[in-house]
């Protein structure tokens, strides 16, 4: 049965097809996009298939080359990573649909095959990180995802090269620290398999080597997921990257980082190690508080829409980490639900920023007046996504925040609950600054006492291939909000790591 091979296919298909793209693109450039769409559709089908299997029959263990787990590489799919796989492949597929028009305008024509190659490689890396059950394999796939991200960012606008180089320096430090952590665990245990390590490690929890390895893991993953003090590469990199790259990477890479953090803290190490033996979760909780407040306040200070969204993204990472930091069942439900919701919200917002860039040629918020008459559908989508980030009930952002706040209250962390509510207020300030500029500028200007004539604005909507992904995301935001109870009861309550 082919469905047994899904864990391998989800990585192998995009990996192999990505090498065909430059060759095919050399021959016929129009064929690049169909290959990407085909590969990502296969990934999405595999991911959905595996999610179905996991819900019905439980955890999937897949042995590459039929080697037994502690020696060979094992792919393990449980509720948590099947869920993340679906998110990553779905967002990447939408981004690929969106890419066509956006890339044609922003990039020179000869770079387009290279762009699609890197986009597909990036997805390969992210899917691989999620599906693997082996620490070293995770490192290699992390680097595949990061390298393609460096390249994707470097082909952006003016300033992208320097931003990409800074990202390389930071990203390499992160990956190397992660590798050191793997090495330290290997010295004391002689194993690289996550399931095997989680059996061996509890006897060694008092060893200083294990503690240092844990610290290396946290810092390394923190850099990769742009957690607050280690976020410095993110705003520059995602601001100057091509629009579709900001959307795809912003929505998936940080989420996969959050997934790896949950894995390391609660599967590789037992929850009581991360919570009681060393105060890792407490520290993470306070780091998250700093991330949320810092992200929201700096977002208010920006006049570039994409840069503003980058700081919002840093705050969103803070929410997920706060859920991990409070570390009870309710807050982890919130964190995992927020991985899903945030992917949709961030993708939608960056898609809108790209559509505005496509039509207006600027992202400066001060130039956005009357945009609701020029691009009514796009701005409606922006408003819904903004309401979701703020946390207004019918949208999905409300529900994950609700669980996070409930978790903070159950955990007795009142400061965290207050910060979460405060952050909603701050995001309202951030987004209403834009919404006010777009919708509420008077069309009849009164200037120095004399009134001016009505301003003529021609309706000029973004092309359909950009509008469709935007509206898929909007539909996602609303539907995920409505069905969040269903999602929690079928998937997330089993995805919360054992021990809670």
């Amino acid at each position: 049965m082919i469905s047994e091979q899904f864990p391998a296919l989800i990585v192998v298909t995009p990996l192999i097809l990505s090498f065909f793209i430059p060759v095919v693109g050399w021959w016929k450039r129009e064929l690049c996009l169909p290959i990407v769409l085909f590969a990502l559709s296969v990934c999405l089908l595999c991911a959905i298939g595996m999610l179905g299997t996991v819900i019905k029959h439980g955890i999937i263990h897949y042995r590459l080359g039929m080697w037994e787990p502690p020696w060979g590489i094992e792919y393990v799919v449980d509720h948590l990573n099947a869920f993340v796989l679906v998110i990553v492949s779905f967002i990447s597929l939408s981004a690929a649909i969106y890419a066509k028009k956006s890339v044609e305008q922003e990039l020179p024509e000869h770079k387009i095959p290279a762009f699609y190659t890197l986009l597909l490689l990036n997805t390969t890396g992210l899917l691989g990180i999620t599906v693997t059950g082996d620490l070293f394999n995770l490192y290699v796939l992390l680097e595949i995802a990061s390298f393609s991200a460096y390249g994707l960012i470097a082909i952006g606008e003016e300033g992208a090269l320097v931003a990409s180089f800074r990202y390389i320096v930071m990203g390499t430090i992160g990956a190397c620290l992660y590798l050191l952590g793997v090495g330290y665990l290997y010295i004391v245990t002689g194993s690289l398999n996550i399931a095997d390590l989680s059996q061996i490690l509890p006897e060694l929890y008092h060893s200083r080597v294990v503690l240092v390895a844990f610290a290396f893991f946290m810092v390394g993953i923190g850099i990769k997921m742009a957690l607050f003090p280690l976020h410095v590469w993110l705003p520059d990199a995602y601001t100057h990257a091509p629009s579709v790259v900001s959307a795809a990477l912003g929505a998936t890479m940080t989420k996969v980082g959050a997934y790896v953090m949950i894995r390391v803290m609660f599967t590789l190490f037992k929850p009581y190690f991360s919570i009681e033996m060393i105060p890792a979760t407490t520290i993470l909780g306070w780091v998250a508080v700093a991330a949320i407040i810092f992200g929201c306040i700096l977002a208010i200070a920006q006049s570039d829409l994409k840069r503003m969204l980058c700081y919002i993204l840093i705050a969103e990472v803070g929410y997920i980490v706060m859920g991990i930091g409070v570390a009870n069942r309710m807050s982890l439900t919130g964190a995992i639900l927020h991985i899903l919701n945030d992917a949709f919200m961030v993708a939608c917002l960056f898609f809108v920023a790209g559509a505005i860039m496509y039509k207006m040629g600027t992202r400066d918020i001060r130039n956005f007046r009357y945009l609701h008459r020029k691009m009514p559908l796009t701005m409606a989508a922006f408003t819904i996504a903004a309401l979701s980030v703020i946390g207004i009930p019918p949208t999905c952002g409300f529900f994950s925040k609700w669980y996070l706040i409930l978790g903070a209250i159950y955990g007795g962390q009142w400061v965290f609950a207050v910060v979460l509510v405060l952050s909603s207020l701050l995001s309202a300030v951030v987004f209403f600054r834009v919404i006010e500029k777009v919708y509420f500028e008077p069309t009849v200007g009164v200037h120095n006492g004399e009134s001016h004539e009505m301003v003529e604005v021609v309706r000029d909507e973004a092309p359909l291939s950009m509008l469709i992904p935007i509206f898929i995301m909007v539909a996602g935001i609303l539907l995920l909000g409505v069905f969040s109870g269903k999602i929690i009861s079928t998937i997330i309550q089993f995805a919360v790591p054992t021990g809670f």
Partner: protein, 139 residues
């Protein structure tokens, strides 16, 4: 103290190398020097993995068919860290390659690799005259 350092000298060497690399990446102004620091940082970790696999008196991990029938793990070097490092070396080469490509583009665009001489666009440029004001949009 000296004995303590000498007995674990491989770890001390890798710590020193890592710190040199880290210093170069953080403190140097020239992007090329940052890249060199990054290289030192990565190779330090590779040297560390190499050293944990080796054993004094150990030999290559190949079991000969006609050898003694007792196989003692202590006689053989642990091949696994070395195999892992084959992959990590490839990763390191790829990092260096992509960084060099980007540095060439940076040099081509700005004519310098000194970080303070490269002037990226201002993150929040003020709107140009007439742009974004009511006057500019009036027909």
């Amino acid at each position: 103290m000296l004995e303590y350092i000498i007995s674990k000298y491989n770890y001390w060497m890798y710590i020193v190398l890592i710190l040199i690399g880290f210093y170069a990446m953080m403190a140097k102004n020239n992007l090329m020097k940052k890249l060199i620091g990054m290289g030192i940082f990565q190779w330090a970790i590779i040297c560390y993995f190499m050293s944990i696999g080796s054993k004094s008196g150990g030999t290559v991990p190949i079991i000969s068919e006609h050898g003694s029938d007792v196989i003692r793990a202590i006689d053989f070097i642990n091949p696994l860290p070395h195999v892992l490092m084959l992959t990590a070396i490839v990763v390191g080469v790829a990092t260096t390659g992509i960084s060099l490509a980007i540095l060439i583009s940076i040099y081509g665009r700005y004519g310098t690799l000194e970080e303070d001489e490269i002037t990226p666009p201002h993150p929040n440029p003020l709107p140009r005259r007439g742009e974004g004001t009511l006057k500019g949009n009036r027909k």
